[in-house]
């Protein structure tokens, strides 16, 4: 019962403090809306690389080559003077420069096309450029090769009339083959698992991300109670009572757990009602992740409260933890857009598991089963942080 009394005292203290309203409610609401607005949606249609295109050839096949690259959803093309383009690629303003050599169109029909040079910026992963350019190049050279073979097979009736007529015939057949390629016999149908609405609502990413981020930030209010107790000497009074040190920590931990859970509930409701994030499609799974995340954060809050000597240190430790856990854990931006090593480090953090637990339900459309592993990992982290907090508590107390 005393643990409950202690927890109730902490909760009353936090709720009565106006800071709580700001850190635990207003700021997360504002940032959730802001981040969703900033990141937008419709990721499938994103243009991810910018290509400068220098056409030294000027022929029809070279122009079709440009069109084929541009038709993909992947690249945005700009036509620039070669020197400007090279300078912009060098500075990283553009991702790559494609140089179509003079004589390219003619060489296509000879069976030995001239080399196309692709110059990539030092700041871009080469595969992002290689994929769309290679695919378009194969289409264009394939159509030219087919045209060459068809015209050669048809022999005199098609190619009679001299070199000019021969070239015109090649171009005509080339265009026909490309037209056929627009109606492919083999299609590649790429689609995300689940409902499109879930994928395109940008708040499905930002709402759980900000929830995790500001649940950490909310520890500023709750963790500082432990520090304040030591400063006000009420802690010294507490340990003269029959309450064990473990019970004192448990009482504070329970208060942090309830406060974080309440904050999460508020943000979940806001997401559901104002932003169209369908948390309630799997209420049990969402509740499980919320509870386990709150237990993990209670452990973290206790550790911060014990480690910090002054309330100011609580703010510093909390902010540093918040930025590290939320950026590395994919709460601020998707880990997919980062480098491999960063993503691998981030994926082991508790924040990443909390975000993943929510994403399994909100974006992947999965059920309660998908919440079990993230929940278990979060509980593991909670145990780790509580143990570290208790150890530090005993050590500093001694």
């Amino acid at each position: 019962m005393r643990i409950l009394d202690l927890a109730l005292k902490d909760i009353l203290q936090v709720v009565r403090d106006r800071r709580s309203l700001l850190f635990m409610v207003l700021m997360p609401l504002a940032f959730t809306v802001f981040m969703g607005f900033a990141f937008g949606g419709g990721a499938e249609e994103d243009v991810r690389i910018s290509l400068a295109w220098v056409d030294r050839d000027g022929g029809v096949p070279a122009a079709r080559f440009w069109q084929l690259v541009e038709a993909g959803v992947w690249a945005q093309l700009v036509s620039l003077d070669e020197a400007d383009a090279l300078s912009q690629v060098q500075s990283g303003e553009l991702d790559a420069l494609v140089v179509v050599p003079a004589g390219f169109s003619g060489s296509l029909f000879s069976g030995s096309p001239l080399k196309v040079e692709v110059i990539t910026s030092g700041g871009v992963q080469e595969d992002l450029v290689r994929a769309p350019v290679s695919q378009a190049w194969l289409k264009i050279t394939g159509a030219a090769e087919a045209a060459r073979m068809i015209v050669e097979t048809a022999e005199s009736p098609v190619s009679s009339g001299g070199p000019a007529a021969h070239d015109a015939a090649l171009l005509d057949v080339f265009a026909r083959v490309l037209d056929e390629a627009d109606r492919p016999a083999l299609r590649v149908e790429v689609s995300p698992c689940g409902e499109l609405e879930r994928v395109t609502n940008p708040y499905n990413q930002s709402s759980p991300g900000m929830l995790v981020m500001f649940a950490i930030f909310g520890l500023v209010s709750s963790s500082s109670l432990l520090t304040a107790e030591r400063r006000n000497k009420t802690f010294q009074r507490l340990i003269t009572t029959s309450l064990s040190r473990g019970s004192i920590l448990a009482g504070h931990g329970l208060a942090i757990f309830i406060l974080v859970l309440a904050q999460e509930a508020l943000l979940v409701l806001f997401g559901q009602l104002a932003l169209g994030v369908d948390y309630l499609r799997e209420p049990l799974a969402v509740l499980l992740i919320m509870v386990c995340a709150a237990i993990w954060l209670a452990g973290l809050g206790v550790l911060i409260g014990v480690a910090a000597r002054e309330e100011e240190q609580v703010i510093l430790y909390t902010m540093a933890t918040m930025f590290l856990f939320s950026a590395l854990g994919g709460a601020m931006f998707p880990l997919e857009s980062t480098g491999r090593v960063f993503a691998q480090i981030g994926q082991v953090l508790p924040s990443a598991w909390a975000v993943e637990g929510f994403q399994n339900i909100l974006i992947r459309g999965q059920g309660l089963g998908s919440a079990l592993l993230p929940a278990a990992v979060l509980l593991g982290y909670a145990l780790l942080f509580f143990t570290a907090g208790a150890w530090l508590f005993r050590r500093t107390d001694a």
Binding site: V118, I119, S134, E145, T338, F342
Partner: protein, 420 residues
């Protein structure tokens, strides 16, 4: 002299506090550092793409004696020359593959239908490769689509060539007999196999890729992006540091030392001048430290000294005026935390500090930015980064200082009334 003494005392207090130093210097560098590592720093200038695991379900049942296009696709995807981020494994059934996908042990599933070969080898037949992917992923699925497109181009190219040949031959009155069809199809298939193999990897690749790095000493686009983010963080935390330093007015009032100061011969104006000078100097020193450390750690080039000096002057002036006004609105020292946190966060967000690295923001948002002093301080740093004409940088500084002066006057009037 007394004003200088007060300023030096406050300045020393600010920089002796580990908390203040952490917030004023550590946190902005930490945030920029995390972003630096996220988008390239951990793998040099070119961050390797995260691994993308693909399961291939080959349900194809090719007709007897026919080529096996399903197996050909599996071999193509599993080729060792494929990019190292692509990890391909076979799955026995669609259900197995989907279970693995749902368990997040794979990010995409490629399903080759049972009539794959049969449909594609039949005149007029068509087929579809289905790719289902983890809906949280966008980069890997798009790249996979391109890689599959290269394969399908080869498979369907011969058929497309035959369709086009049929039309051409029909117009010219020549029969496209079976022999001619076979010659065309065989010729195209051989050409495609040879070309695809040599496309990027052969002795004499048709597409040559060359990477160009910046000449030594020049700034990359990533560094440029980080510079903008760092500028935003610097302005935010300099304003934070300034408000924290200005709080010494309320702290001294709370502890009773301000009342003691008032009974000394020093005039109130002198005391507040000293406090304001401390805020200004803290902002300048903090800005200088952040400029120096961010140059060293992230290679940010802030422009020449004239631009840095102008940007520092504008930022410190605006921050000093802003701080005094914020402090004047706070009723007591205990109330300072929430007011400062709220005001700094909201004005920083609306002043564009949280979106300093973003492009293509709505015009209305950019207009709103302009009514906050933080936006002008940020503009000063952007001009320093661009080495903009000094006249433009000067104008920005004048606007920042004007903001600072107006805010300072308002704050001063409020504080004078309070401590009358």
């Amino acid at each position: 002299m007394r004003a200088v003494d007060i300023a030096l005392k406050d300045l020393l207090q600010a920089f002796r506090s580990k908390f203040d130093l952490g917030m004023m210097v550590g946190v902005p560098l930490l945030i920029t550092g995390i972003l630096y590592l996220a988008f390239g720093g951990l793998s040099g200038r070119q961050a390797a793409l995260p691994e993308f695991r693909v399961l291939v379900v080959d349900l194809d049942q090719p007709p007897a004696g026919s080529v096996d296009l399903g197996s050909a696709l599996v071999d193509y995807l599993a080729d060792e020359r494929m990019p190292d981020w692509l990890i391909v494994q076979a799955a026995a059934t669609e259900a197995d593959a989907m279970r693995t996908l749902e368990a997040r042990d794979a990010q995409a599933v490629v399903i080759i239908p049972p009539d794959f070969t049969a449909a594609l080898t039949r005149p007029g037949g068509d087929a579809a490769l289905r790719v289902l992917h983890d809906p949280t992923k966008t980069v890997g699925p798009s790249l996979l689509r391109y890689l599959l497109g290269i394969f399908t181009g080869g498979v369907t190219g011969a058929g497309q060539a035959l369709e086009a040949a049929g039309a051409v031959f029909a117009e010219t009155g020549i029969e496209l007999d079976a022999v001619r069809q076979a010659v065309l199809a065989q010729g195209y298939a051989e050409w495609y196999a040879r070309t695809q193999s040599d496309l990027n990897h052969g002795q004499n690749p048709a597409l040559t890729f060359r990477r160009i790095d910046l000449p030594a000493g020049e700034e990359s686009d990533l560094t440029r992006l980080l510079a903008n983010i760092m500028a935003g963080m610097m302005v935010f935390f300099v304003f934070f540091g300034s408000v924290t330093t200005a709080l010494s007015i309320l702290k001294e009032d709370h502890e009773g030392t301000l009342a003691r100061l008032f009974i000394t011969p020093a005039r109130k104006a002198t005391i507040f001048s000293g406090k304001l000078a401390a805020v200004f100097l803290t902002a300048v020193v903090q800005g200088l430290i952040l400029v120096g450390l961010s140059s060293l750690l992230f290679g940010i080039r802030w422009g020449g000294w004239p631009w840095v000096a102008l940007a520092l002057l504008g930022m410190a002036g605006a921050a000093a005026g802003f701080s005094l006004l914020v402090v004047a609105f706070v009723r007591d020292y205990r109330q300072a935390g929430p007011v400062i946190g709220g005001v700094l966060s909201v004005s920083g967000m609306l002043g564009g500090l949280m979106t300093a690295g973003f492009e293509g923001l709505p015009v209305a948002f950019i207009r709103i930015n302009r009514i906050f002093p933080q936006a002008w301080a940020l503009q000063g740093w952007r001009q320093a980064l661009d080495s903009a004409p000094l006249a433009d940088a000067g104008t920005t500084v004048m606007v920042s200082l004007a903001f600072g002066a107006v805010l300072f006057t308002a704050g001063w009037l409020l504080l004078r009334r309070r401590f009358a």
